[in-house]
């Protein structure tokens, strides 16, 4: 890597471009930075806001703390304010910034005071700077204020200056990403004067404050910090500019700083030191954690996760790699990643252990220092008052007593065996019996039980076997030597045995996970439906991580639970809000996260290269962090596989939809052709005949003329029928068909339908049989006649001339049946009912008959609209189709 080339640095270019163009999408953040409260940040911010408002910008006050300072309050006049939100908390009502109201108002610029503020529990984000992030993401420009003591990386330094540890911190990355930082500078003397004048705090508070926090020394130191921070920021911008424009500069090239973080480094001072160092060198920094099989215990893992998170918020790249030998693996990583400086925590609090038991106790830092002379190593000592800060960090062993009892039992057994063998066995060999027991305990129960067993064995050995017997005293010097060696051997044996055990445990665990992942991916590959895929994913995640899982997929505007481990699980409003947030922002939200932590579940977006495809929600009944780093990795692996599978199936579904769409388009095209054909053919005949009569009247005989006129009339009627059909179909489709029912004599309607169809049926024989004494039915006679007419029209078209059409009207089984039989070729055997589907002819690619195939569909629509049924089939015993209309007779009793 050589940064000294004259080529513009792509990263720097990107950063600049983001700053120049990205501001369109992302809001512009301007921070007013002060060294201490009271320097006039808010005042300045409001002044700027007024200026902007005067220039015509849409400026809104999201939240400004006046601290009862009259000058500041006066400046609020004339600016639009978004009302604060009342949040009840422990019997009090707190007034917080209303993030949603601001987002809804969507001003061009919003003022948000005190970036470091911690929100009331239950807010969407725990910290105000996260609210600001969301505002920026929504494309709103933000003006904000912050004091230097709130900057995360300066936390230690400020604490050491002022002896007050600030709890509310802002990650450095927020400041680094700010587009503009304006330092509000006031000399300590002026500030103190203002304070004495009561312009900052009420007089009595001011007195106390001057004594403690606002001592001139403190203020000078804080002011220097603020100045330096601003200078650094300006410097970074300059460096970006120079790199982007390929200006050869004096910046330190190629520095890379790596923090080797172990479970022993429980405080954050290591990270803050690294951050400051990295800033000074303008160097990227990495925080590396080598996870070994010794790192067992959820508390320890949670603590590590918290520190890694902190490191990320300070701008570090965090890396966790699995390994055995922390020092060797960390060095290997450092070498392959061109790390130039390593930072490690101070060795264990008992350094002598390094020398006494180097194989067991030597700290990682010690090994680091000894094993490599190439990379400079900084050793940082923990700040003692930091212990409480990352409270979850302290690994407190919650050991069950079971392994110790079983260890004791094994030693008791060893004692028994030794007692039984004491006659034939030299005293020194008895120790071998105990050693076997200790090894057994080590392999079965781990390190601490086996150390406990070593102590027990030592005591037993002394008490029962070393003369004088049954006392803990030892007389013979060689027995002292024997006991000492026995002790040493047993400790070593414990350690080795335990290590073998934990390695085996870890190896088995890893193998199981690998196997499970492999099985999962094979399962996914075979799945073709979305439901099955989601359920399998849900189940797999739930069982592998031992928690409940739900999967949400977008549908319409909102997310919906599409699969859950516990069937039928529904999300509460807060969970749904968190899930939606996670989906929209493509980031983790909910429990244990920075966004909407009040939710019961943790929501993780499943994403592919094309963005999120689903959101998975996790929860467990246990308290404490939901996921340790290993589970996090596992979830990532499972999630990636699932996301790809979901995308695959979504694509397949899209493809199907596209195919269906193409099919529909084809059908539409065919329909258009068909309708245009059906409309135009009669028109062509009519126009042709009319123009023929017009042009060649003299040439036509009387018969010719009659022929042409008949053509015109027949075709006009045909056209009329077709248009009527189209209109009827439209009415049916639109759902606007309301039958006008009245008492109807069905026989009469059949008769009138026949009369209407007479001209079409001149070449057919029609027989009609109607039961006598049929009751009147409550029907719409117009619809019924049209339905019958369409059936007759159909029969006329599809049966050869000269054949017979039979119509029977009869009552049976409490219903009235109208049966129409013909002697034509009949209907398709496999699915006679299909003739009723719209455009049935189109599907059959049958163009030999006129008509679009709407007639029967309309008949069915009309009959069903009147509460009847219609079916079709083939006649038994001879060829021909049979249509059966049937109405219930219950209407009979109607008045």
């Amino acid at each position: 890597m050589d940064d000294r080339t004259d080529r513009p640095d792509p990263d720097a270019l990107l950063r600049q471009t983001e700053k120049l163009t990205g501001t369109r999408q992302r809001g512009h953040l301007k921070i007013f930075l002060g060294a201490a409260p009271g320097v006039g940040k808010t005042f300045e911010m409001l002044t700027v806001a007024h200026q902007m408002a005067r220039d015509g910008s849409d400026v809104v006050v999201g939240l400004v703390e006046t601290h009862d300072r009259p000058e500041t309050a006066a400046l609020l006049e004339g600016l639009e304010s978004v009302p604060r939100r009342a949040v009840p908390y422990r019997g009090q009502v707190l007034w917080e910034m209303d993030l949603d109201a601001i987002l809804a108002r969507h001003p061009r610029i919003v003022l948000v005071d005190e970036l470091a503020h911690t929100n009331v529990p239950g807010s969407r984000h725990p910290k105000r700077w996260m609210d600001v992030e969301e505002l920026l993401e929504a494309g709103i420009d933000v003006l904000s204020t912050v004091n230097i003591q709130h900057l995360e990386s300066l936390n230690d330094v400020v604490a050491s200056i002022t002896h007050v540890r600030v709890r509310e911190t802002v990650p450095d990355i927020v400041l680094n990403r700010a587009d503009e930082i304006e330092l509000i500078d006031l000399t300590p003397t002026d500030l103190l004067q203002r304070m004495r004048d009561g312009k900052i705090y009420a007089p009595q508070t001011a007195g106390r404050a001057i004594l403690h926090y606002f001592s001139p020394g403190n203020l000078t130191a804080l002011r220097e910090l603020a100045l330096r921070q601003t200078a650094q920021q300006v410097d970074a911008q300059l460096v970006d500019h120079m790199k982007a424009n390929a200006i050869a500069g004096p910046w330190a090239a190629g520095e890379r700083i790596m923090v080797c973080l172990t479970l022993q480094d429980r405080d954050a001072s290591l990270l803050r030191y690294a951050k400051r160092l990295a800033d000074r060198f303008h160097a990227p920094w990495i925080v590396l954690h080598v996870e070994t099989n010794r790192d067992i215990g959820n508390d320890a893992r949670a603590g590590m996760a918290a520190r890694m998170h902190l490191a990320q918020s300070m701008g570090a790249e965090t890396v966790t790699i699995p390994g055995q030998d922390v020092a060797a693996d960390a060095l290997a990583y450092a070498r392959t990643h061109n790390v130039t400086q390593i930072i490690a925590g101070r060795p264990t609090p008992l350094p002598w252990l390094d020398w006494v038991f180097p194989w067991a106790w030597r700290s990682t830092t010690g090994q680091l220092i000894q094993s490599d002379g190439q990379i400079p190593i900084h050793v940082v000592r923990a700040a003692s008052d930091d212990e409480a800060e990352l409270g979850a960090a302290r690994p407190r062993a919650k050991r069950s007593i079971g392994p110790f009892l079983s260890g004791s039992g094994i030693i008791a057994m060893a004692l028994g065996v030794a007692m039984a063998l004491r006659q034939g066995l030299a005293v020194n060999n008895v120790s071998l019996v105990f050693l076997t027991g200790i090894l057994w305990v080590a392999v079965a129960n781990g390190l601490w039980p086996s150390l406990w067993a070593s102590v027990l064995a030592m005591l037993c050995f002394n008490f029962f076997f070393l003369p004088p017997l049954y006392t803990f005293t030892i007389v013979a010097p060689d027995n002292v030597v024997a006991l000492v060696f026995f002790s040493a051997t047993s400790v070593i044996a414990s350690h080795l045995g335990a290590r073998v055990r934990s390695q085996a445990v870890v190896a088995r665990h890893r193998a199981e996970i690998t196997e499970a992942l492999y099985q999962f991916s094979r399962k996914l590959a075979g799945i073709v439906t979305m439901d099955e895929l989601l359920w399998t994913t849900c189940h797999q995640i739930a069982t592998m991580l031992d928690m409940n899982a739900v999967i949400l997929l977008p549908g319409g505007d909102a997310l919906h639970v599409t699969a859950s481990y516990i069937p039928g699980e529904a999300l509460g409003p807060s969970d749904l809000a968190a899930a939606t947030w996670a989906w929209r922002h493509d980031r983790t939200a909910g429990r244990d996260s920075d966004n909407l932590p009040g939710a019961r579940r943790l929501f993780v977006p499943l994403r592919t290269g094309h963005g999120p495809v689903a959101v998975i929600g996790l929860d467990a009944d246990r308290s404490g962090p939901l996921l340790d780093p290993e589970q996090q990795r596992l979830l990532d692996a499972l999630g990636d596989q699932a996301a790809v599978a979901i995308e695959r199936i979504t694509l397949a579904e899209d493809l199907d939809r596209a195919r269906l769409h193409a099919e529909t388009e084809k059908l539409r095209g065919a329909l258009l052709t068909s309708i245009s054909h059906d409309l135009r053919t009669p028109l062509a005949s009519i126009l042709g005949a009319a123009s023929s009569l017009d042009s060649y009247d003299a040439l036509l005989s009387a018969g010719d003329r009659h022929d042409l006129i008949t053509t015109i009339r027949d075709e006009a009627e045909r056209l009329n029928r077709f248009v009527a059909n189209l209109l009827d179909m439209t009415r049916l489709e639109a759902g606007g068909l309301a039958p006008r029912k009245e008492q109807v004599d069905v026989g009469e309607v059949v008769g009138s339908a026949l009369a209407r169809a007479a001209r079409m049926l001149v070449r057919h024989t029609v027989t009609l049989q109607i039961d006598r004494d049929l009751p009147l039915l409550l029907l719409d006679d117009v619809l019924l006649e049209q339905a019958l007419f369409n059936l007759l029209d159909n029969a006329a078209k599809y049966t050869p001339p000269g054949t017979r059409i039979e119509i029977d009207v009869a009552r049976a089984d409490g219903r009235l049946h109208i049966c129409l039989r013909d002697e034509g070729p009949g209907l398709p055997v496999q699915d006679p009912d299909r003739v009723f589907s719209k455009f049935a002819r189109l599907h059959a690619a049958d163009r030999s008959r006129p008509g679009t195939g709407l007639g029967l569909a309309i008949a069915r629509g009309f009959i069903e609209a009147m509460g009847g049924t219609i079916g079709a089939g083939n006649r038994h015993g001879r060829s021909g189709a049979e249509f059966m209309i049937s109405f219930p007779l219950t209407e009979e009793k109607a008045p």
Binding site: S676, T681, A684, I686, S692, D704, R847
Partner: protein
Amino acid sequence: MSDPCVLIVDDEPAIRRLLRTSLGAQSWRTMEAETGTSGLEQARQGRADIMLLDLGLPDMDGMEVIRRLRGGGSSLPIVVLSVREDERGKVAALELGADDYVTKPFSMAELVARLRTALRHGLQKEGTTPVFTSGDLSVDLVRRHIFRDGQEIRLSPREWDIMRLLVQHAGRVLTHRHILGQLWGAGGDVQQLRVYIRQIRQKLEADPERPAHIVTETGIGYRLVVTDP
């Protein structure tokens, strides 16, 4: 020459009846076919002088009928009956070897005129009349003279080529592709052709915006109208 015989290939009985009556009244003889297969069969018998072909047939596409007929070496003139929207179908039919088309619904006089033109072409394929006259226009293909109202009009060589092609196929529609293929080989484009046609119209037509001689068949090509003087 005896009365010409039209083979009507259409599945619509109403249309067939109309054509039979109307053409019969003008002493055309008619033959009828309901399907493409039967149409091809009757055409091969050789009694028909011209075929009137509907493109939508129950058993095969009208295109297929043209393809088979021309594939079999027949030069029977074909006039296609088609609906208006189907420009691509018309072009395809013309390129397959149909002589002309009539859009449904049609007026009988127009249909008869088209049938006559196509028939005349069928008879004249070998030699062209040296002097073409239509309305106020007269074109002498041999001497390369062109007159409107007795006034000679000068055309550029390329314009003359187009004009000659139109005259040779007077009364018939020529597709863009056909004209381009004849005059430019593979290299021409429709835009170029449009420019030439406009130039010819400027010289030829009384009102170039509403041409009376070279009419545009939108989406298909151009036609030189034949009007009896």
